[in-house]
Each structure stands twice: as C-alpha cells, then as structure tokens.
Amino acid sequence: MGGHIVVAGASLGGLRAAEQLRAAGWTGGITVIGDEPHRPYNRPPLSKEVLAGKASFASLAFTPKASAADVEWRLGTRVTAARLAERAVELHDGSVLSYDGLVVATGMRPRRLRCPGPLAGRHTVRMIDDAQVLRDELTRPGVRVVVVGAGFIGCEVAATAVGLGAAEVTVVDPLPLPMVGPLGEMLARVLLARHEERGVSFVLGSGVTGFEGDDRVTGVVLSDGSVLPADVVVESVGSLANTEWLDGNGLDLSDGVLTDQHLRVGGRPEVVAVGDVARFPNPRYDGVPRRVEHWSMPADSAKHAAKVLVGGDAGVAPFAPLPTFWSDQHDFRLQSFGAPVLGLGDVRVLDGDPSGDVLVGYHRDGRLVGVVALGGPSAARAAARYRADLLKQPALTS
C-alpha cells in the first residue's frame, strides 16, 4: 500500500505506531515528527535509575524494529497545526506535509505551578534533559528537596532522593494521603507509613502558594503561610495533553483527543490517536471515554490503531485493553492490573497482609475491576492469578 502517513509525536507511541503500521502491511512512506532532539527513549527510569545515576541515555533509547528502518525521523521540530479537511499538517519550521494517514501521538507535558517566585531550582521529570539536570542538583551535599505532588512520580522522586542521601526530602500535597486518588485510602495509608519509615516527610492537606528566593528557590510557601526551606523543588502536579495543534478542526479536545472505539479521531478513517493523548471508551468497563497514562498504553493502542488505519475496522473488535502499571519506590514495588480507580468504593485485601506483601482488590457493583500488589514475588504471583480472571471477564457495557 502506498501513500504517506505522518506520525505526530516521537515518543514510545510514535515509534510503536511506525512499527505497527509496517506490521499491518503499510509499505508507503512514514514520517515521525518529534519536538525533542532525541530518538524515542524509555521514560519510567527518569524518576528512578536516571536520577540515581544508574542509567545513561544510551541505555534508555528504544531499538526500533528492522521493519521501521526506512521511517523518516524529523526531530527537534513539532507539528504546529493540523488541517484535517485538507489532510495536511504544518510544522514549526513553516513546512507543510500532506498525508494519507495521520497518527496523533503527541502525548502529555508536565503541568507547572503558576505561583509567584523564582523559576531557578524548580524542576519536572518528564524529559531526559530535565532529569539529567535534576540529578546534578539532587546530589549536592546537604540538599533539601521539596516535591510538590504526592502521586506516583512525586513519590518515586522522593524515594530516589532519599536513596541519594538528600538531607531532607518533603512531599507536599493538598490531599490527605499520597497516591490516594488512584489507589484509595487503605493502600495510601500503608504507603505513607512505608515512605515515612524510610525518611520521607509529608506535608499533607496543604497547597503551595508561592516560592521564596531571589535568583533561585530557597523556600516553598504553603497555603497556611508557613515556609518549607528548599534548595531544590520538583513539581509533579499532573500533566496536560499536547493537543493545541489540533485546534480549529471541530474536535473534542477537552481532555486529550476524543476517539471512537477504534481510536479514530473526528469520525475520520484516516486519523487515529495513540498513547496517553487518546481519550477512548473501554468496553471492558463502562464505555466512558478516558485517557490512560500507563506505560503499556502506547504499545497496546498503536497495535490497534495501525491495524484499523491500514486495513479498516471490518471484523476488528473494539479496542479494550487491560490497563497495567507499576511503580518502584524505595525497596518496594506496586503492580496494578485492571482499573482500581473504578472500584475505590469497595476495596478488599485478597491475599497477604498490609504489614507485608499484600494484594488488594477493587470492586464495582460487587465485581472485581482491578488489583494492586504491593511487595515482592508472592504479591506479584497473586496479582498474576487475578490478572487472568480480569482478562476473562465479559465486557461491562452493552
């Protein structure tokens, strides 16, 4: 099949899309456009191994499959606008590319705190270049670190900073417990205790209203007016979808780009979205369109979207991934299958004990919708058993 497919975004989703287009039989041209100067690399190690100095960029770069060897990579630029009706995109350098197929893979960017105060000393960890700069800061002797945001990334960074020997590590969050949004109260309490035992301090139920310092940050101003001294601040307060370039095409961009059950965008058979920028219905649950910011999403969605883009949807079942994520913090691992967040109202211990390795089940209307394992191999084995159960369940919708 000839023609030209443009892939907007050169992270894991863009790479897998290019590879899966070839696997689906596309023999025409493929151009992948990315704003970072780097080829696609693996992001989860940024908040862990890269900060800890245990991984270099070379070890993070993905090795593209041989089938994608002739893909054209246009890096260090970005798509600034799409004209879907004309099947064309505009690039930052002013050039216009026409396409027969378009893959939206532009992902997310970190949300930043809009507070008064200096910018220097404040970091995010989404990109490799950020992580390498942050690493140099975290290894300064006697450094005091404040992490804003007690989600997974914030807690991973805090754990890594403690491991690097930072003098003080404090996590600030308006919510009453770390990771409580995705995991619920039971596990969040357990995780709070485990972090505190290993040297992380928490200021919970408190927002950030500003930063102190002249040239660079010296303190974080909390909502009660008190000030936490800080040499380094890490902001991990969520992310925003990179969809501005799709404005003006009549699309629903209210949280990522809305797709149909086959990841198609705007009712157009020649435009699909992959990775965490795609807001798709999952018939495995309730069919409500959601974005999923898990590592497994780019590969899962690229496979489905490429197949539909190249061959159409005849005989193809709707995209219905089983979400999975993990998080390594200190000496423990969290491993999740399914959608725990949909079952926060009915949380039960399925295996083990919260004082050690434990497997927690999340239920909706009495039915298991997700599991989270905390701990070592025994918890992982238990989670794997329940993963099989979750996979076997029929769809909740229709």
């Binding site: 693996n42 070890s59 090795t63 590592w295 993990w326 191999p377 992982a380 794997a384």
Partner: protein, 62 residues
C-alpha cells in the same frame, strides 16, 4: 530465532511471561527464566514480549 535477555537490565516485572508464556516464566524466587532458542512459530509472541518489557531487556537475534 535466538532470544537474549539482558539480566543486568531485567527487574522481574514478568510482562514477558504474560505475552509469551511458552518462552518466559518466573521461577519460585520470582526471577525470570526463559528458553533461549524457542521455536520460530513463537516469533509473534516473543516480539510482543520484547515490546512490553518495561526495561526493554529482551532482544531477538535471527
């Protein structure tokens, strides 16, 4: 087909076991064990296993 796992990278996530259970398994200690020279008919599932490895530690050599 030859399968090579960089055991220095592997962190025992077990995602490869789900993708290619005929080639990868976790032993009783939760450590990865695998068949280094699987049947060529298993290629698709081994490729899937390589794709889903969070550490990208699996390499396929022909």
């Amino acid at each position: 087909m030859k399968v090579v796992v960089d055991m220095n990278k592997c962190q025992d996530h077990g995602q490869c076991v789900f993708a290619a259970p005929d080639v990868f398994r976790m032993d009783d200690d939760g450590r990865l064990a695998y068949v280094p020279d699987p049947d060529g008919a298993l290629r698709d599932e081994v490729e899937e296993a390589a794709d889903v490895c969070p550490l990208q530690a699996i390499r396929i050599e022909d």
